[in-house]
Amino acid sequence: MKSLLIISRHPPARQPAREALDVALAAAAFGVPCGILFMDDGVFQLMKGQDAAQIGQKSLAANLQALPLFGVEDILVCQHSLGERGLQASQCLLDAQVVNNAEIATLLEHYDQIVTL
């Protein structure tokens, strides 16, 4: 099996955020070794205390919490993207591993395939 890293870059209110999670969950359901890296505005997906119903949307929390249950091995969040937005890892809903730019470069080597969504 080729391993797959999904890079999720969209804020939670946008449809592509949910669609990136769907790809990670589908890949994991097929037994593909899979990781997901939240970066750019994608880091907002992880923030605790969101109330999606206020803007007429369904929360992403259930899909996010399904990631470890489905066997998505690496749940990662970009340190630079958090810092740019004044956010801390402690505000994340999931126990995501914070990765710096050098570690992201290593990840790109580690995975067979990368899909940026």
């Binding site: 099996m1 080729k2 797959l4 870059r9 449809q15 592509p16 669609e19 769907d22 790809v23 589908a26 890949a27 359901a29 097929f30 593909v32 395939q113 899909v115 940026t116 969504l117």
Partner: protein
């Protein structure tokens, strides 16, 4: 180990819709893959790219019709062109079976496009020698 690869299998995914230049870049890339003697094992249309499978778009006569160009290209080369069914249903792209299932008054997509699940992309990623994604 050195492998001489004369011909490769490509899986190509498009995420952006007809209005995005990525829809044309992906088409030109796909044409170049075939004209270079390689194969395309599957095309996968996700997110707004599902709109390319709609037969209802009408372009002004002096503008290009990227959806029609994709349709011709896929039909001419008999390619496996999968449209993500969940993304398509959300955006109102339905074939006859889905229109019937969801009691919608019209269907707007048909062959050469196939509506199917994300698993088809996962499968294509696994079997391809090269996987390329267009659009962000």
């Amino acid at each position: 180990m050195f492998l001489l690869v004369t011909s490769m299998n490509f899986a190509i995914a498009l995420l952006a819709g007809p209005q995005d230049p990525a829809a044309r870049s992906a088409l030109e890339f796909a044409k170049a893959v075939l004209s270079s003697g390689h194969q395309i094992s599957r095309l996968f249309f996700y997110r707004d790219a599902v709109h390319l499978a709609s037969q209802l778009g009408v372009q002004p006569q002096d503008e290009s019709d990227i959806a029609a160009e994709w349709r011709q290209f896929i039909a001419e080369h008999q390619l496996d062109a999968v449209v993500c069914i969940a993304a398509a249903l959300r955006r109102g792209v339905l074939d006859a079976a889905e229109a019937k299932r969801w009691s919608r008054p019209v269907a707007n997509t048909a062959t050469p496009w196939t509506l199917s699940g994300l698993g088809q992309w996962v499968d294509a990623l696994q079997s391809a020698d090269r996987a390329v994604t267009f659009g962000t």
